[in-house]
Symmetry: C2
Subunit: 258 residues, 2 copies
């Protein structure tokens, strides 16, 4: 009983993929956990430590994983759940809250901390300039979690309102057509010249950044590790003869373009 009161759960953001993009707070939290839960590729990024247990699980099992971690914390462990990027953006922090709300009442007494991280869109944006320098939105394209009609409606609303968009979970083997459909929808509301950035595995050895236009954008260029940024009509391309091209959205919107 006394032991159970000392358990706690920390949800940790690992950042985009490079160990140098981890915060010190996340690093310390990883070092002090007794047991770490996560999707296998994220677990693989955490250095092994003596006496620490690790439990990897599959991509789709977020609420099961959260429940396992809460159970361990309820038994007195310092449990950690890891997420790539930031755990609060389409990731484990919400899954832990869901499991906590629907689980045993005792779980509500657990100490829960969430350690934020650099989420994917920020890392992709930093690689190309400042496409998120003006108002923007972040959407998951996964229709496992909401009806496709809602996704289309949000894409239309975001384009019409002038938001730059960051698209998470753009494509997977089970969701092969959604991203191309999203580009089609956006082409009805934005000029074909609108800038599109595909940012894959930023900070990792297999990083790949591609700049294209909405007219030319193809879903096949993306995979599960890709975050896509679609500019607004204000987003600018700045070519440089001896340096990489920059993409940025000016902070100011002139009254004339409103």
């Amino acid at each position: 009983m006394v032991q159970a009161m000392t358990g706690k759960l920390t949800v940790i953001g690992l950042g985009p993929g490079n160990a140098d993009q981890l915060t010190r707070e996340a690093d310390v939290a990883l070092q002090t956990a007794d047991v770490i839960f996560g999707y296998q590729p994220y677990i693989d990024r955490v250095p092994l430590r003596a006496g620490q247990r690790r439990e990897a699980s599959d991509n789709r099992q977020e609420v099961d994983r959260a429940s396992r971690a809460l159970s361990e914390a309820a038994r007195g462990a310092h449990a950690a759940v890891v997420s790539g990027g930031d755990p609060g953006v389409f990731a484990m922090a919400a899954a832990v809250c869901e499991a906590l709300e629907h689980g045993p009442a005792a779980w509500r007494d657990l100490e829960l901390s969430i350690v934020p991280g650099v989420t994917s869109m920020l890392a992709v944006a930093a690689r190309v300039g400042a496409p998120l320098g003006h108002d923007f939105c972040a959407m998951s394209l996964s229709d496992n979690l909401k009806p496709w009609s809602v996704i289309e409606r949000r894409l239309q609303a975001a384009a019409a309102a002038g938001f730059v968009m960051a698209l998470y979970n753009p494509i997977s083997r089970a969701r092969p057509w959604q991203l191309d459909r999203a580009f089609e929808t956006l082409r009805e509301h934005l000029p074909g010249t609108t800038v599109v950035v595909f940012g894959r595995a930023v900070g990792r050895p297999d990083e790949r950044i591609q700049l294209t236009t909405l007219a030319a954008a193809k879903g096949a260029e993306a995979d599960m590790a890709t975050c896509i940024i679609v500019g607004s009509t204000e987003t600018r391309i700045l070519t440089r003869p001896n340096q990489p091209t920059l993409v940025y959205t000016p902070r100011s919107l002139a009254a004339a373009s409103a």
Copy 2:
């Protein structure tokens, strides 16, 4: 001439305010800069190092500051510009791109790197649970940079489309009424019970987190250091007898609520 080619500019995100929320990459970049430019309160957060120059400037002088940093880099220095949070979100990365586009052609040859950081909304979200766990948008409420009519239109569009909203730059001495007007606008589109989070100075000694509802939200609760998160109709409040209240937006949206 040879010296000029070695100059470079790094734009660095300091995270929300606590030194532990800095990434290792940002820490190394700060250590290797010859000269650091920034808004005074951000410069104050960077430890002084021997041989390093620092140039603090006022809040409104972003493009001047960016131009000064680019000039120093063009003279061969390793210049750095610091931003609180992430430099790509309503901050210095876009200002540097703007200065670079409109400045001397030689500036385009400079090596420019941007080091992302944990932006304010992620830190605020982590403190209360996972309010950004579903689709969301981020808006600056400053009408110095765009007409107020555009801000209102975007608030309406975001509310109607079901986005959670993170509001940056909510209020200042020169912009005293805008935040209350924004709440009024949102009250026309969202129920009064909608969750609102005021997150001030997260990670700093004067941190203050307040949970309220849209019906009760008052602009006077915010200041320049506050980031506000307005939930969607899906955002949930989870009270816990012996622990802080959690706020989260479930990852799933059922077809019935669409």
